[in-house]
Amino acid sequence: MDNYITEVRDDKLTFTFQVELDTFTCMELEEGLLELVKNHNGTVVFDMSKVDFVASSFIRLCGATASAIGQENFSLFNLNKNIKKIFKKVGLTSVIKIR
């Protein structure tokens, strides 16, 4: 199974993650994902509807994505309660848009 599915609509690039985002998965997908992000002109969205667990490496990946595309162009949505709590705990809800 692919780690994520991408969809481009208008200027919005959406990554819909299909698996648990543990440390090893994040290491595996990081390079390709950041490459796509850097080559995209527009907004980037991480759809977390199918994800139950994220490791701290994913938070780092979010930080790297926000840095690459600009904080204002990056957002996450469909986060479950626990994942949202993690983002809140590490203080990222103030800099990354979470819907």
Binding site: T23, F53, R60, G91, L92, V95
Partner: protein, 566 residues
């Protein structure tokens, strides 16, 4: 059985079967045709005999006519002499036994009586002498009554007045072939006529008997000769077949050996090379020979050998690299472990007790704990770096040193975290970060001042077992963004209060069935064991988590416990 032996036997068997089949079929062919030869010979002989019979008929018929004419004239001459000598006395002739014997003898051809002679008085129509004694003295009419078939002949003879002549007739009820000849002769100066009848069949019988006997003898002889000839031929065929079989058999042995060798030799070489490869010698390059399939096999094998050689070289290199990295990681781990503070003997006190445990998921950990004195106060640090392995360990070491150094120059936890964050976020292109909880305890007052940079809240468990969380600040983890602000809080610990610092490796631990360990189970375990020493509590929790994960660590697990006792 070896493939070479199998091939040899197969080729040999095929050769033997083929040669046997060839020999046997040749033999059977000759055997079957032997009867045909005999039958053909028999037909030829019969045909020849038939031709011979016809030829005999053609020869014998005029000859027999000539014979009875001459015989009749001869006998007429004898009778004439006897008649003259007897002074023309018919009775003397009638009683002349010598003459009768001569007449009878004259009717024999060999041992077969083939003729009938009658001396007739043409005037009286009486038969004076006759080879059939019963007919002597009877009239011609009586004879015709006896032999009705002579009626027509009688007419013809009488029409000629018994003149010299020659007649052909068939007795009544005779077969077509049963033709008889009759010669008539009038004796001069008398009324006597001599009639000589000859049965052609009877006349021919002795000749034919001889011919038949000869034919049978010849036929038998020829058949025997054919049989002998075919037997000899069969014998020669058998000898020839056996010779052919032996020659093919003898030739097929070296041929089969050569052929089986040509098939199996490359395969045997291939096998030997495989054995060499099995022993680790990959430098093989077989000569491409043999059948098309064998050549393909050798090409594939050579290719595989080269691939294996390259792969093994790469693998050896990779293994060496891994061994080197493993060694370096082991050294790194030892260094990392040595940087973690030991409780004994420096951190034993009548006022508090400490316990700490760190289980890295990888060779080196991204988590760390630390405790050190800032003058007479005790600093307690727990942190969790994002990711795992070398990069996390490197970031952790950097953070640990930074916190320890800043503690010497800063007065509050929030100031330490703020300055540490500014340092760590500088040029942090990989966005490494660490969550960190820093608490500073004053043993004199029991006061605890703490600040949290995105880390798990610490747990405070009092002697009654009531659990409260400290540090719910929701502040940025260290390393993300420069100039992030942190807050410090203060609380006073009572005697028996237990503080638990931990990383998310504990609540996020998962069973093989993918269930989370969870905070509830963690808190319950702590509550139940709160009266134990901090070290004991650490051991209990770590063992419980390991059991839960079935010893399959998913993340670094770090636990640090503090208890005020005085």
């Amino acid at each position: 059985m070896k493939i070479r032996t199998k091939t040899f036997l197969v080729i040999l068997t095929v050769s033997v079967v083929l040669s046997c089949a060839l020999s046997v079929s040749h033999f059977i062919y000759d055997l079957l045709h032997q009867e045909n030869y005999i039958s053909y010979a028999d037909k030829t002989i019969n045909s020849f005999v038939k031709w011979n019979n016809n030829l005999s008929d053609n020869i014998l018929t005029p000859f027999s006519k000539q014979y009875i004419n001459l015989k009749t004239k001869y006998l007429a001459n004898v009778i004439e002499k006897k008649f003259i000598t007897g002074k023309n006395d018919y009775s003397k002739l009638k009683n002349d036994k010598e003459l009768l014997d001569l007449l009878i003898k004259s009717t024999y051809v060999g041992k077969i009586q083939a003729g009938y002679i009658a001396v007739v008085n043409t005037k009286t129509d009486n038969i004076i002498l006759c080879t059939d004694k019963e007919d002597i003295g009877i009239s011609i009419d009586s004879l015709i009554r006896k032999y009705p078939g002579l009626k027509k002949l009688n007419k013809e003879i009488r029409a000629n007045n018994f003149a010299d002549g020659y007649y052909t007739y068939k007795p009544l009820n005779s077969t077509v072939d049963n033709v008889e000849f009759l010669s008539s002769y009038i004796l001069p100066n008398s009324d006597l006529a001599i009639l000589y009848s000859l049965s052609l069949n009877r006349y021919k019988k002795p000749f034919y008997a001889k011919i038949q006997a000869e034919r049978k003898r010849k036929q038998k002889s020829i058949v025997a000769e054919i049989r002998t000839s075919t037997y000899n031929e069969l014998k020669y065929t058998a000898i020839f077949s056996v010779t052919i079989f032996l020659v093919i058999y003898l030739l097929s042995i070296p041929l089969a050996l050569w052929f089986s060798n040509s098939i199996t030799a490359p395969i045997v070489k291939l096998r030997d090379k495989v054995i060499k490869i099995g022993k680790g010698n990959f430098n093989v390059n077989l000569k491409i020979e043999g059948s098309t399939e064998t050549k393909d096999l050798i090409r594939t094998f050579n290719f595989l050998g080269e691939e294996l050689h390259t792969y093994t070289k790469d693998l050896t290199k990779e293994v060496r690299n891994r061994e080197r990295i493993e060694t370096e990681l082991t050294i790194a781990r030892n260094i990392q472990e040595s940087t973690l503070p030991s409780i004994e003997p420096d951190f034993t006190s009548e006022n508090f007790q400490l316990g700490a445990k760190l289980l890295p998921a990888a060779k080196v950990a991204g988590d760390f704990y630390d405790f050190f004195f800032i003058e007479d106060k005790l600093a307690l640090v727990i942190a969790d770096v994002s990711g795992k392995g070398i990069s996390a360990a490197f970031f952790m070491t950097m953070t640990k040193s930074l916190i320890a150094n800043l503690s010497l120059v800063c007065s509050t936890p929030k100031e330490i975290l703020s300055k540490a964050n500014n340092q760590l976020s500088k040029n942090n292109k990989t966005f490494m970060f660490t969550t960190l909880f820093l608490a500073i305890y004053d043993p004199k007052t029991g006061e605890l001042e703490y600040s949290n940079a995105g880390h798990e809240n610490i747990l405070r468990i009092d002697s009654e077992g009531i659990i409260t969380e400290l540090g719910n600040h929701e502040r940025m983890a260290l390393g993300f963004y420069k100039n992030s602000e942190y807050i410090s809080e203060k609380t006073k610990l009572n005697k028996g209060d237990l503080l638990v610092f931990f990383t998310d490796g504990i609540p996020d631990s998962r069973s093989p069935e993918k269930e989370f360990y969870g905070e509830e189970r963690f808190k319950k375990l702590l509550k139940n064991n709160r009266n134990k020493t901090p070290s004991e509590i650490c051991n209990i929790v770590i063992e419980d988590v390991k059991d839960f994960e079935n010893n399959n660590l998913y993340d670094d697990i770090t636990l640090m416990t503090f208890k005020r006792i005085g």
